[in-house]
Amino acid sequence: MRRLNVPAIVLGLLLLGAWELAARAGQNSFFPPFSTVLAALWANGGVIAAQIVDTLRRAAIGLAIAVAVMVPFGALIGRVRFLGDIFEPLVNMLRPIPPPAVAPIALLFAGTGDAGKIAMIVYTCAFPILIGAIDGVRANHPMLTNVGRSLRLSRLEIMAFIDLPAAMPIIMTGIRLAVAAALLVSVIAEMLLTTNGIGVYLLRSQENFRIADGLAGVVAIAVVGFLVNDLFLRLDRRLLAWHYATTGGAEGQG
């Protein structure tokens, strides 16, 4: 099905080989060779997996809340001009605040437990999803609504069966941006509001000078992040197969 990508494999092996050789030549305990990191990954696999599950759990909850609230909210703002006039300037005002900057305030309100971290994730995910939803429903062709009217669908039915599916491609792009952001902020949140999760694992590895163990955690995050993004890309392709079939499989990059 898929051709083996030889150049990528060669480059990957070369880079890993260079790392291994440089580390072995340097003999610096702060710079362990790749093989040591792999061994550390093997040895700490259970701990790392348990921590990543915590990280992913919070990212998933935060993302789910953001999707459940922001998709309908965005559709409403995008559709009802009066609400758009009120809320869009506020959205544009809050959007440039970098997500980690809300950490101290999340800490004040929600403490260092799950609630504070999930609040940060929801805040981060809210903007790409909200903007995707607003732009999505606005980009709809008016003809679609007219077709719905001639089929005697009610306003609510038009929203549910026509507006939402038609806006889905743009909304999904927003959600995919949010997925990457959720994972990112989940790790940041753990490092700032330390209790558990892979972010804490990394901090502890640093504090105890266990460099190889820490790097093993980084490798694990890279793998998980890749898999999660890939999963959502596949989900996107499957859910929106009808859309890509008509547009020729546009490839969106987040």
């Binding site: 300037p89 970098p98 950490a103 101290p104 004040l108 490092m191 901090l203 999660v228």
Partner: protein, 256 residues
């Protein structure tokens, strides 16, 4: 103009509601200070100067990091556009490294790079590189065939086509990536400052938050917001200067 007026009205209304809610005791002012108090604190903090130097440090880090990463990423994307094997070899690695949260690299990077500019340089370039590279590589590969073939029939070589046809055609998409990189740069700078904890807005925010100086925390948040607005505005100015032709063209097509 009218939309600007409506926008400021909406924001003023929101601030007024917040002020009223804070004064009437509907929200706990210990945690949610009234906007006027936040404004006063911000002015006082600017007078003390600490927040100003924090702002400048963070903003310069984000700006320099995003600029360096963008230039590197565009150079890499040009190489990838010129030699298919580079793109084929590099893209999977890009896909793999891109989702890695830059913050995750901070604790270990401190060992190699210390707490100074090397740390921020590495973290910021790593964070800002991917959106620019991915957008640039994709856009450079998507130049309409007719344009490339036309240039070829005028006797342009591969490099000349890349420089005079494919790069200009890709610039609008590249700027989408640069805009992302600018905001990611600010996020990464603040996150790294929070974790490394020595200076900058990230440290200022964490310090104020953890010592429960709530109005100062909100003042820091306003400073972070201004930094976000400013860096985005810079990208938009740069975009207007370099690809104003494209902006005008799309506006004409849309407006007419």
């Amino acid at each position: 103009m009218l939309s600007l007026l409506r926008g400021s009205l909406s924001i003023l209304g929101f601030l007024a509601l917040w002020e009223i809610a804070a004064r009437s005791g509907l929200v706990p002012t210990d945690y949610f200070p009234a906007p006027l108090l936040v404004g006063e604190t911000l002015v006082a903090e600017i007078g003390r100067g600490e927040i100003v130097s924090a702002f400048v440090a963070t903003f310069l880090r984000a700006l320099i990091g995003a600029t360096a990463a963008s230039l590197l990423a565009i150079a890499m994307a040009l190489l990838a556009a010129r030699y298919a094997i580079v793109r084929r070899a590099f893209d999977p690695i890009a896909e793999f490294l891109r989702p890695l949260p830059p913050a995750a690299l901070v604790p270990l990077a401190i060992f190699f790079l210390g707490l100074g500019w090397k740390l921020y340089g590495f973290i910021l370039v790593f964070a800002c590189f991917w959106p620019v590279y991915l957008n640039a590589a994709q856009a450079l590969a998507a130049t309409p065939r007719v344009q490339v073939e036309t240039a070829r029939s005028f006797g342009y070589g591969d490099w000349a086509i890349l420089a005079h046809v494919r790069l200009p055609a890709a610039l609008p998409t590249i700027f989408i990536g640069v805009r992302m990189a600018a905001s990611i740069g600010l996020i990464a700078a603040i996150a790294a400052e929070m974790i490394a904890g020595r200076d900058g807005l990230g440290f200022y925010l964490m310090d104020a938050g953890l010592s429960l100086r709530v109005p100062e925390t909100f003042a820091g948040l306003v400073a972070a917001m201004v930094a976000g607005l400013l860096i985005n505005a810079l990208v938009m100015v740069l975009r207007a200067l370099t690809i104003g032709w494209h902006v005008q063209l799309t506006r004409m097509e849309a407006g007419a």
